[in-house]
Amino acid sequence: MTVESTAAARKPRRASKRTSAAKKPQSAEPQLVQLLTPEGERVEHPDYSIDLSADELRGLYRDMVLTRRFDAEATALQRQGELGLWASLLGQEAAQIGSGRALRDDDYVFPTYREHGVAWCRGVDPTNLLGMFRGVNHGGWDPNSNNFHLYTIVIGSQTLHATGYAMGVAKDGADSAVIAYFGDGASSQGDVAESFTFSAVYNAPVVFFCQNNQWAISEPTERQTRVPLYQRAQGFGFPGVRVDGNDVLACLAVTRSALERARRGEGPTLVEAFTYRMGAHTTSDDPTKYRADEERAAWEAKDPILRLRAYLEKEKFADDAFFTALDAESETLGKRVREAVRAMPDPDPMALFEHGYADGNSLVDEERAQFAAYQASFVDSAEEGK
């Protein structure tokens, strides 16, 4: 594990002696771990190497393209009134696919509500993610089928669940790892700080994967922190590293390394994936109120999908037939998702009373019976109306 980027950030800055360090946020941006430049040039990094076959590279590209296509379809479905809300991952495909593909099947994921790309990597059917955004459930998948926990909406809470789960993994003597996703906004939450403390003192096999997408709804990262986020780890006693979050190869390499470290029993790592939320926070948000178009345009030039495509084409790792076939696959996925959402039935009213308790509850039983009787009281009039 490197502290190279930490060291770089600690290089003394030229500043007036009278300027207190606390007065101003650090302006010198630390270096990112990068293996693929925005132009699609493959570069080496002293601490993180990666050697992928053409097939694997095409796989990562396919994952990102299909995830983006699914995400676009979900946004459209919200606009059509089929979903109540959607939280787009647009721009964060490399961070999610890179980290998601670093995981083993027996690793466990604790996501936020925006981890659609990670869900894809875990084999969670995209249509399952849409149930909660349509309002038919609060999460329709079995977390243990794919070792992918339910989306967590309250910001940062899941980092503690991930830490506890990782403590359990260590108790079991297993060599799997746990990954907790969160964002720059969550970094201000007490639960995230507590998860750093607990994971450090118990040496829990957990990777904290922070997608710093620069915006917590309308608040920029500067409103959350005065130091680069990955540097927070140092104070808790474990390494932190900042990776180019729009570089799928770097995200894969850095996450793999952090997971391996966890498996070796060396404890947690904080990975800060430096990326950008290209879209709105959710479909209810209006980013034109708080950020400039120029900023988005600058990040467009660093698009995670375009840079991998440039590399694939330059190195002739993929031909036209591949891209054409992928376009068709994308459209098929969009169609499948569209049809699945439209066919998603509303839950039965009696489902209200299901799953509140595992061992049952006399009050719920009483209320269920009252509700059933109330519902039944409409049957006669409905029959009469026929």
Binding site: H138, N144, L150, V154, A162, G164, G356, A358, V364, E366
Partner: protein
């Protein structure tokens, strides 16, 4: 029969020991629960016998304790966490209410959260601020949680066994001022259901409903009333969520008068819920409105004032008189 006389504190300790012994997935977590055995010594000696991997001293962060307990439960463990005092539970309130209570339903039943949150609660020990509160209604109001409180050593022993075995999260309120009260515990008994109320004194004129530390006060009040020729029934609720309304109703229909007693503030307290439900269930059996005796709508007072704040014998008897006067 293995009947032993022991304090509530000892009964809890023995029960936790049995839980650790009978299921390797049971863990104890909390601040100072290890070497020290907790500030009330409820976990005394457990770390020595079961090791640091099972009886875990945690960092001083309540949200972290409950949040990591949730993660451990998702991994298949059954954590029993200790919150040191009632007033310290609120940093963990978010994890309890938004995560622990709701996760089973969120997962459509596919995950279980067998977590017990132990909270020593209530006043009467002359403590400083935040050490004497009764926040049970704040938890009973939340769907997905079960909330219980024993009043005696036998219940402490058996209700803890049942709470640990429950696949639902249980908030286990321990009446801290009664920790040292002794009672008989039959460790080979077959306990009744966890959420069933128990009639601890039969009577025919009025029903006192209480739980936790107030059961003793109500029994004393019933004894005193007896001397005046009044026959008071005392119902130990044991569970504040769910509530055994059938038992209260049966008693109310017999006596026609109900007074609910708890240390927690009366306003929005469990007495309000009981009064409403009993009125709905047996309006025509009631000879008087359901009365409530409890704390006032003020922050818990300094220790030198707590005797005025807490329901004592006289305030319970005053309510009994008011009810009988209808």
């Amino acid at each position: 029969m293995a009947v032993e006389k022991m304090s509530i504190a000892k009964a809890l300790n023995e029960s936790l020991r049995l839980a650790l012994d009978s299921d390797p997935k049971v863990l104890i977590m909390g601040e100072d629960v290890g070497k020290l055995g907790g500030v009330f010594r409820i976990t005394d000696g457990l770390q020595k016998d079961f090791g640091e991997e099972r009886v875990i001293d945690t960092p001083l962060a309540e949200s972290g304790i409950v949040g990591t307990a949730i993660g451990l439960a998702l991994r298949g463990y059954r954590p029993v966490v200790e919150i040191q005092f009632d007033g310290f539970v609120f940093p963990a309130y978010d994890q309890i209410v938004t995560q622990l209570a709701k996760m089973h339903a969120r997962a459509l039943g596919k995950v279980k959260l067998p977590v017990v949150v132990r909270i020593p609660y209530g006043g009467g020990i002359g403590a400083v601020e935040h050490h004497s509160e009764s926040p049970e209604a704040l938890f009973a109001h939340v769907a997905g949680l079960k909330v219980v409180s024993p009043s005696n050593a036998s219940d402490a022993y058996w209700m803890m066994q049942q709470a640990v075995q429950s696949d639902d999260p249980v908030i286990f309120f321990e009446p801290k001022r009664r920790y040292w009260d002794k009672g008989e515990v039959d460790t080979e008994a077959i306990p009744g259901p966890l959420h069933r109320a128990v009639t601890v004194r039969e009577g025919s004129d009025l029903t006192l409903v209480a739980y936790g530390p107030m059961v003793k006060v109500c029994l004393e009040a019933a004894e005193a009333a007896q001397e005046e020729g009044k026959s008071i029934e005392v119902l130990d609720l044991r569970s504040m969520s769910p509530i055994d309304f059938d038992a209260i109703q049966a008693s109310a229909e017999k006596t026609g008068r109900v007074v609910v007693v708890h240390e927690a503030p009366v306003f929005y307290g469990s007495g309000a819920e009981i009064a409403a439900r009993i009125t709905e269930r047996c309006f025509y059996h009631l000879e008087a409105p359901v009365l409530r005796v409890g704390g006032y709508h003020v922050p818990y007072p300094p220790a030198r004032l707590e005797d005025e704040y807490l329901p004592g014998l006289d305030r319970v008897l005053d309510a009994v008189d008011r009810s009988l006067a209808y």
